[in-house]
């Protein structure tokens, strides 16, 4: 089945130690998004790629970076994780050619910072 896959599902890192979260998709969608969702809160958009064009949200900290080497893969890099970065990170995709430009979500990666 076509889907959005996130690896790993659970990630533990140490304060200040760089970490990379991975997202892949088999939907061939041209837009990929990264959201941060803290406990019992709404998902918050960090940035998105429209094809190769990177779009950062104004309030996304510089500590968060992203890479999209090809259509299928997108990575979230946290350069120096702090305790406040512990959260669920959701990846989503959409296609501008589909009705409503609906977003399809992955299962998320839960990041713990020790």
């Amino acid at each position: 089945d076509a889907m959005v896959i996130q690896n790993p599902r659970y990630q533990v890192t140490q304060f200040g130690k760089p970490v990379t979260l991975s997202c892949s998709q088999t939907l061939n969608h041209n837009v990929m998004y990264w959201y941060q969702q803290k406990s019992s809160q709404a998902p918050k958009l960090l940035f998105h790629y429209y094809d190769k064009d990177f779009n950062n949200e104004a309030d996304t900290p510089d500590n968060f970076q992203s890479r999209r080497p090809n259509t299928s893969f997108c990575f979230l890099d946290i350069r120096s994780p702090g305790l406040g970065d512990a959260a669920m990170y959701l990846c989503a995709t959409s296609s501008v050619s589909l009705p409503y430009n609906e977003q399809f979500f992955g299962p998320g990666t839960r990041l713990t910072v020790l």
């Binding site: 837009v31 998902p43 959409s94 409503y100 992955g106």
Partner: protein, 116 residues
């Protein structure tokens, strides 16, 4: 700036009952989409139902329907004949009708529990 407000942090009903989740939003846009997403425990978020602002008719998907009041900026979700599998976090979301990427603005969510 657009905002979405869900005033019910938690709700609980018995199986087979009908439940309505509230959502209000604020925007100066005239054309936009509204969505309800479901996030079951430890599972991925999925779209439940969508509504185009330019359509007066309320959207319906099987047991799920919405009451869209554009003037009041209200968008409630009704779940009929609720099932145990409906237990989840429900998010109301808004996006303006634009070309390109769909930037969703989510409400804070309502945790819905269906009891046997």
């Amino acid at each position: 700036a657009q905002t979405v407000t869900q005033s019910q942090p938690e709700m609980s009903v018995q199986e087979a009952e009908t439940v309505t989740l509230s959502c209000t939003y604020d925007t100066s846009e005239n054309n936009y989409y509204l969505f309800w997403y479901k996030q079951p425990p430890s599972r991925q978020m999925i779209l439940v139902i969508r509504q185009e602002a330019y359509k007066q008719q309320n959207a319906t998907e099987n047991r799920f329907s919405v009451n869209f009041q554009k003037a009041a900026k209200s968008f409630s979700l009704k779940i009929s004949d609720s099932q145990l599998g409906d237990t989840a976090m429900y998010f109301c979301a808004f996006t303006p009708l634009i070309q390109g990427a769909q930037k969703l603005v989510f409400g804070q969510g309502t945790r819905l529990t269906i009891n046997p």
